[in-house]
Every structure is written in C-alpha cells, then in structure tokens.
Amino acid sequence: MAQELWWASPSFWRKTAIWVTGFSFVVLIFLTFDTVKQITAGSPRVPAYSVINQRIDYVFDEKRNFQVPVVGPEEPLFGQKLSEAEAATLVNHGKLTTQAKNCMNCHTLLGNGSYYAPDLTKSWLDPSWGSKEVREQSMVEFLMDPTDKLHNAVGRRMPNLGITEAEARATVAFLKWMASIDTNGFPANFKPIDQADAPEPATAEPVADAAPVQQ
C-alpha cells in the first residue's frame, strides 16, 4: 500500500477537529462576556426597567441607517412614577405572566416564538391601540378578556387565558419596557403610534374598534 497521505489521515483530521472546536469555543466565550455586559438591563442597548416612566419611541437613525428606540420625556405608565425597584418588580411580574400564559406559542417576542399572532416586540407602539391616551387601558382590557374584542377578518382570536388585572398591567409594563430594547432595526419600516404631546382629535379609537379588518 502506498504511503498514507497526511491530509487524508484520521489523526490529522482528529487534531484539526479538536483545535477548530477549541478555538471557536474560546472566541465564543470572549464574545459572550462582552455581549452579556451589553444586554444587562441598565445598559444603553437594554435600558433599566424604570424606563417605563418615560415615553418610548422608535425613530429612524440616519447614522445607523435603521430605526432605534428613543427614550423621551417623562410619561409614567398608568400615570404612576415608579422607583427602579418597583419598576423591576412590575416588569418581572409581566415577564412571568408572558411565560406562564405561553404567549410565545402564538406570538413572537423579538421575532422568536410562533407565527399565529402578531410580533410583540413593538406592540407598545402599535398604531392599532388608537391613541396614546387610551392605549394603556385598551391593552389591559384586551389582555383580560380578548375573546369578544374584534381582532381581524381572518377569524383568529386570542383565547381568554384568565389574566388578572394585576397581571395585565404588569404585562403592559413588560411590553413597554421591551419596546425600549435596541433591536438593531427590527422590525424595519415600523410606523409607531403618534405620541406627540398635542392630543389627537376625537377620531382616535380604542383597539376594539380600530383593529384592522381585511377583506
């Protein structure tokens, strides 16, 4: 038999496999340290939970060439300014609710989950809530008993998941906080609800009536 070619030998490829795997893993670990630091709540990319005390918008950034969350003037959720600890407790309750109610097996959050219902990444900013004045209450009422609300023309409805008022308010806080996360421009081309200080004319309607109707 001819002499074995080095590049076709098992030992060469075994060593290559070990080195490549080890190197990739080490690089991943280094990047993970940096990434975890950058996505810890309270960082520029992932704001502290008390951001729910302020207006959150989603605006096109010329320099980065995509939309980014913009934290605006004070606009406390449900009209009540919370301390960092109170805000964290509320958002935590909201996150627990989204998990316990299995939201991700119909919806997507940050684009991950299931595709049976709309993405919730920027749901706080969705124009379908009508106006910013009625948004919070509309969201709470919708979450507590969605079945009788108009959703869409394809006939899909959200079931009644037994969400209490406290859970609904906490979920809204979680959704508002999630809208402040810098998601590198996802979703693109999103047109947020008008949050200008001048009140909208009376045509603005709550979600139950403003929800889209398709033909």
């Binding site: 893993f25 990047l31 316990a100 079945t147 998941l161 859970e167 033909q215």
Partner: protein, 483 residues
C-alpha cells in the same frame, strides 16, 4: 437466537433491549407530533376549531415538544443500540439505564397531561416550576428540566463507562465528548430572568448549539455506524469523514450561533460574525452528502438493510437541503431582517428537523427491527417491500408539500407584512389574509395529511417488515467490517 422473522428479545444484547424500549416510545411520540401538528394546521384554516379547548398555543407546544422528545428518545435509543457493538463490552450500569428509561417516560407522560389539562398558570414562578416554562422548545416545567438533566447524566454514565471499559473507537470518542457538550448546554436554558434579551441570548445556547452543532455531530456518529452496518464501509474511512465533519460542523456552527443574535438586543458585531459563520454551516452538510453517496456508490448500493440505507441517503440530502440550503437562504442579516419570525422559519424548521434528524432515527429503527427479528433479510426483493417504499415516499411528499406551502406563505409575509407593512398589527393580518398566504396554508395542510398517511404506513411497516421473510440478512465481506 430465535427463528428468523420472529420478534424476540433473545436476538438483542443488553443495550439493544433497552434501545428498543426507547424506540417504541419514540415512535408513539412521533405520532403525537404528527397529530398535534395536524390540529394546529387546521386552526390556521379554521380558527374556531377547538378554540378555548385546545388552543393553537397548546397544540403547537405539544407539536414541537413531542418532536424534541421523540428525537431525543430516538438518539438515546440509537446510542444504546450501538454501544455494545462499538465498545465490545456489555453496557456498564445497564440497570440504571433501565430505571431511568421508566422515570423519563413517566415524566414525559405527566408533562403532556399537564400541558393538555392545565395548560397555563398564574404569572408566578410556581407556574414555571410546575406547569409550563413558556419558552419555545424548552417549555417543560423546571422540575422536568432537572429530571431531564438527571436522566441525561445517567445515560452519559452508561455510555462513557462502557467505552472506558471496552474499546474507545473514533465514533465512541466523538460521541462521548459530544454528549458532554449536549448535556452541559441544556443548563444554559434552566434559569429565569425578567430580561428578555438575556433570556433569548441563553435560550439560543440551548436551541442553536443543540440543533446546529451537537445534534449534528451526534447524527454524524450515527451515520458513521449506520454506513458500517448497512454497507460494511471501512471504519477508517467513516471515522476520517467523521473528524472532517466535526471540524467543519463546530468550526461553522459554534460561531454561527451569531445569526440568532441579530435582533434580540445583542450588539451589532453579530451581524458580521453570525452572517459569516452561519453562511459556512452548509459546508459540513455537503461533506456528509458526498460521504454517504460516495460510499453507497462505491458499494454499488449493495446493503444488508435497504430501508435503513434509503433513510441514511435521505438524511444526507434532507440535512443538506433542510438545514443547509433552507437555512442559508435566510441567514444573512440583510434578508433575515424581513424573514425573521415568519413562516419562512417554519418552512426551514420543518425540512431541517425532518431531513437531518427524523430520517436518521428512522434509519436506526430499521436497523433495530432487522436484528430484533433475528437478523432477517432486508435487501432487494424483500417480501412486502412496498410498505417501506410507500412510507418513505409519502413522508417525503408530505414534507416537501408542507415546506413549499410554508415557504410561499413566508415569501408573501416577508414582503407584505415585513418589507412593505412594517410588521405592525394591521400589516400582520393583511399578510395573513392574503390569498398567497391562505393558499400556502391550505397546501401545508394537504402535505400534513400526506405526511400522516406516510407515518401510519411507516408504523405498520415497522411492526411487520421481515415478518414473512425466511432468508437471513446478507453479510458484508468480513474484511470490511473489522476495525
């Protein structure tokens, strides 16, 4: 050894007796996956179907969880199947393996019953511990997570101790190291945080590094063993290929994790790293196709087990197209911005999980049934061969129909909802109501029924294949099967 064609445990070694238990539960769970997939698919077409009784979220959770667990059971069974053959010694601590099998199975039954009967809980930690963790693919409540870790550790002990006591082949070495990674990674998904970015970041460690790295290497090991068994390919050749595949798989897949870090709050450098390395991920899958097809051609498709060989070849192509091509199509951030979270992902998920993993477990089911029936003939002109041929055909036809239906729905969604509409509520439902979407979902359901028919035929075939055969299995030339 009992008579040819008769199903008897006397034909099996210790590990294999345990393997067939895992295989039996795996097939039942495969059936559950198909059933709940059909129900969820119907709900897309008729949203009132089972509304308030078994909502889409419950059906979809059961659909994907049944899949994860039946594949895990299939993998664990396959490893027990090859363990004594590869190591040359009886499984160390087999009693523990048997005990763990019953505990694992019982835990799965309890989790499924809770999913079905309780479904959701209050927004408290105890719901996550007892009912449902609410995180896609790893919904199993925390108590079950801990149970899974204990089971996997016991399984790992069986495997590592058996190889350590007997012969550590190349396949065995890769397998043991891979199982360490596989078990360790699961821990990354076992903690709660209110921070959704952090949650998703670690969740992907489990999902991606399982599905696109450690599971791929595991099926690489299974393929190596399968090729040796069905065609008598020389061990040195398959093991060299296995090392090449591991190098390419981990070299691309570990940092390919970054393609899930585009939009979850993680930094922008993942665009470059994730885009680049995930674009390389199809390369090892090409290597696997070349390997399998070359070996099959080299042996002129002469195998001791034609159905198993057919499923191994199906795996090579399914893995390449499902995981490789369908993954590559939307992996770059420039396109993923519009396809992320649409039916495009569902199309990829269906073809990849079936092509890469279901196929390999099915190949092992056929390898197992042959031995279980006393090494019965399963090559050309097999009695009743129409069943396995129609099963593989219907399962593929159904899957391809589903995948194409979902892909067209995904194209439409990424255009209408994402690119034009901007992903808000109105845009979402505008896309869902579009006739291309509705047609896509209709054909997906047709594909689902075809797939279900294929599953029924497969299950029937597995129960009957070789039953009426009186010929013994073909043998490989002895020289090729040696170490």
């Amino acid at each position: 050894m009992s008579a040819l064609g008769i199903l008897s445990n006397a034909n099996l070694n210790g590990g294999q007796k345990l393997a067939v238990k895992y295989f039996s539960v795996a097939v039942a769970l495969f059936g559950a996956q198909v059933l709940f997939g059909l129900l969820a698919g119907i709900q897309y077409l008729n949203p009132d179907f089972l509304f308030g009784i078994l909502d889409f979220s419950v059906n979809r959770m059961l659909h994907i969880n049944a899949m994860v667990v039946w594949l895990l059971f299939g993998f664990i069974g396959s490893v027990y199947w090859l363990l004594e053959d590869e190591s040359g010694v009886p499984v160390v601590g087999l009693w523990l393996g048997n005990l763990i099998f019953w505990i694992f199975t019982l835990a799965v039954v309890v989790v499924v019953l809770v999913y079905l009967l309780i479904q959701v809980g209050p927004g408290e930690l105890k719901s996550i511990w007892l009912i449902n963790e609410g995180r896609e693919y790893i919904e199993a409540p925390r108590w079950a997570d801990i149970g899974i870790v204990v089971c996997v550790l016991a399984f790992f002990y069986n495997v590592a101790a058996t190889f350590a006591k007997g012969r550590f082949t190349g396949v065995g070495g890769v397998l043991v190291l891979d199982l360490i990674a596989l078990a360790g990674l699961y821990l990354a998904g076992m903690w709660y945080t209110p921070n959704i970015s952090m949650d998703q970041h670690w969740w992907w460690w489990v999902i991606h590094l399982w599905v696109e790295a450690t599971w791929e290497v595991l099926v690489g090991c299974l393929m190596a063993y399968g090729l040796i068994k069905t065609m008598g390919v020389r061990r040195k050749i398959v093991e060299t290929w296995l090392y090449i595949e591991v190098a390419l798989m981990f070299g691309s897949g570990i940092l390919g994790l970054g393609h899930h870090y585009f939009w979850i709050g993680t930094p922008e450098y993942w665009f470059t790293i994730g885009g680049f390395f995930s674009a390389l991920e199809p390369i090892p899958l090409v290597a696997m196709v070349v390997h399998a097809v070359f070996d099959a051609g080299h042996h002129k498709l002469k195998s001791t087990n034609n159905p198993a060989l057919a499923w191994i070849i199906a795996q090579a192509f399914g893995n390449f197209f499902g995981a490789g091509v369908w993954g590559f199509m939307h992996t770059l951030p420039q396109i993923n911005l519009y396809t992320h979270g649409t039916q495009w992902t569902a199309s990829h998920g269906h073809l990849a999980f079936f092509g890469a993993y279901a196929t390999m477990v099915i190949a092992f089911l056929y390898i197992a049934i042959q031995r279980w029936r006393g090494g019965v003939y399963m090559s050309g002109n097999l009695v009743g061969a129409w069943k396995w041929k129609w099963a593989i055909f219907l399962l593929h036809l159904g899957m391809i129909t589903m995948v194409m239906g979902l892909l067209i729905a995904g194209y439409e969604q990424s255009q209408i909802e994402r690119a034009i509409g901007g992903s808000d509520w109105v845009a979402y439902f505008t896309a869902q109501a579009h006739r291309w979407f509705v047609q896509g979902m209709f054909w997906r359901q047709v594909g689902g029924w075809l797939f279900a028919a294929g599953f029924v035929l497969l299950a029937w075939d597995l129960m009957t294949i070789g039953k009426r055969e009186t010929r013994p299995a073909l043998q490989h030339p002895a020289a090729e099967t040696g170490a």
